[in-house]
Subunit: 210 residues, 2 copies
């Protein structure tokens, strides 16, 4: 009776997604090592054993989640590149979108952070992050170069600027872990992008102390 095979497939997809959502939530906060499968099962409202029916082990689930998060970010940068319009506006819009996404659902950013910070160099996750990061960085660098051609961004090494932009984004995502942090004056996109803007000239380069 292959009658319910379609239905079954749908159930399978749903459960898998359910587990991934729960996993994202927990992994993002506690990291791989501190997360117990029982935590995920509880968050997903299903039994312990079922998680192993859908994922071979904890690492496989973690890896799948990190990759999804990376794909999302890479996709954002790719879209910004393809779109028409002024490069500076696309850049501004991209960064605003990233910041907004990070504040709305920090989990995607936090799980990448977890992977970078806690996983040993050479591990599968770490390699994965490195691979995607390269693409993200390259896209962003290209976009910055275009904005520089328009004269909207100061002519500093574009790769350096892209690197800084990404580092700042990640640094800001850390603040999303804290629920209570003192004054929490989250910077505006305008402030964050100020350092890209061209300056007329700075004449105080001469008197820098040791």
């Amino acid at each position: 009776m292959p009658r319910s095979s379609r239905q079954n497939q749908r159930i399978k997809d749903e459960r898998r997604e359910q587990i991934m959502q729960a996993g994202l939530k927990v992994f993002a906060r506690k990291g791989l090592a501190a997360t117990k499968i029982s935590d995920i099962a509880a968050a997903a409202n299903l039994s312990y054993g079922l998680v192993y029916h859908y994922f071979r082990d904890k690492d496989e689930l973690y890896l799948a989640l990190v990759e999804r998060a990376l794909q999302g970010t890479l996709h954002l940068t790719a879209v910004a590149l393809e779109q028409p319009g002024a490069a500076w506006e696309r850049l501004r819009s991209l960064y605003a979108e990233m910041i907004a996404g990070m504040r709305a659902t920090p989990e995607y950013y936090l799980i990448i952070l977890q992977a970078q910070v806690s996983e040993p160099p050479g591990s599968a996750v770490h390699t994965l992050v490195g691979r995607y990061s390269e693409g993200i960085w390259t896209n962003l660098t290209t976009l910055i170069r275009q904005a520089q051609d328009e004269g909207e961004v100061e002519a500093i090494d574009a790769g350096e600027l892209a690197f800084t932009l990404l580092a700042t984004l990640q640094g800001l995502s850390i603040s999303q872990t804290v629920d209570n942090q003192i004054p929490r004056i989250f910077p505006s996109v305008e402030t964050l992008l100020r350092f890209l803007r061209p300056s007329i000239s700075h004449d105080e380069d001469s008197h820098h102390a040791d």
Copy 2:
């Protein structure tokens, strides 16, 4: 025979420090949960059991290390405030020092990162980080205000600028975990501080798209 009591105290201090150094190294890379006491004992070249002779449990050691790292950072900002001279130069110098320290021994920054990212809100470490962060942020904000009075920093909310500066610093410290990362164009202090500088005027605020 209290003859060797002085000597013993010195040995005790040495061992304790030895364990802390090893603990810093391992915790900074793997985080609290993934770190085994045996890792630390191995890194310190002493036996497993001895660690428990000097620290009640893993958490106590971890907490001590996080606090030391936080004290160091807080101290840097406090010194920068007390020092004489132009505020802008003290600010520039402070940030350069922080960046240099982060690149030389990333462990102090990474362990703070670990504490923020992986520890649950409300935990002892998390509270500790919050307390120190407030002081660090306050000092930096004060310094920025002084630089604004000198006209060396754009008149944006000083707290927002301090927040951004700290977030960027932490974001950059993440890159120190990777040994291979692709182009690794680490930004210069000049680039990082660009966004603080006063701008003559920007007249393209008008045409921002959705």
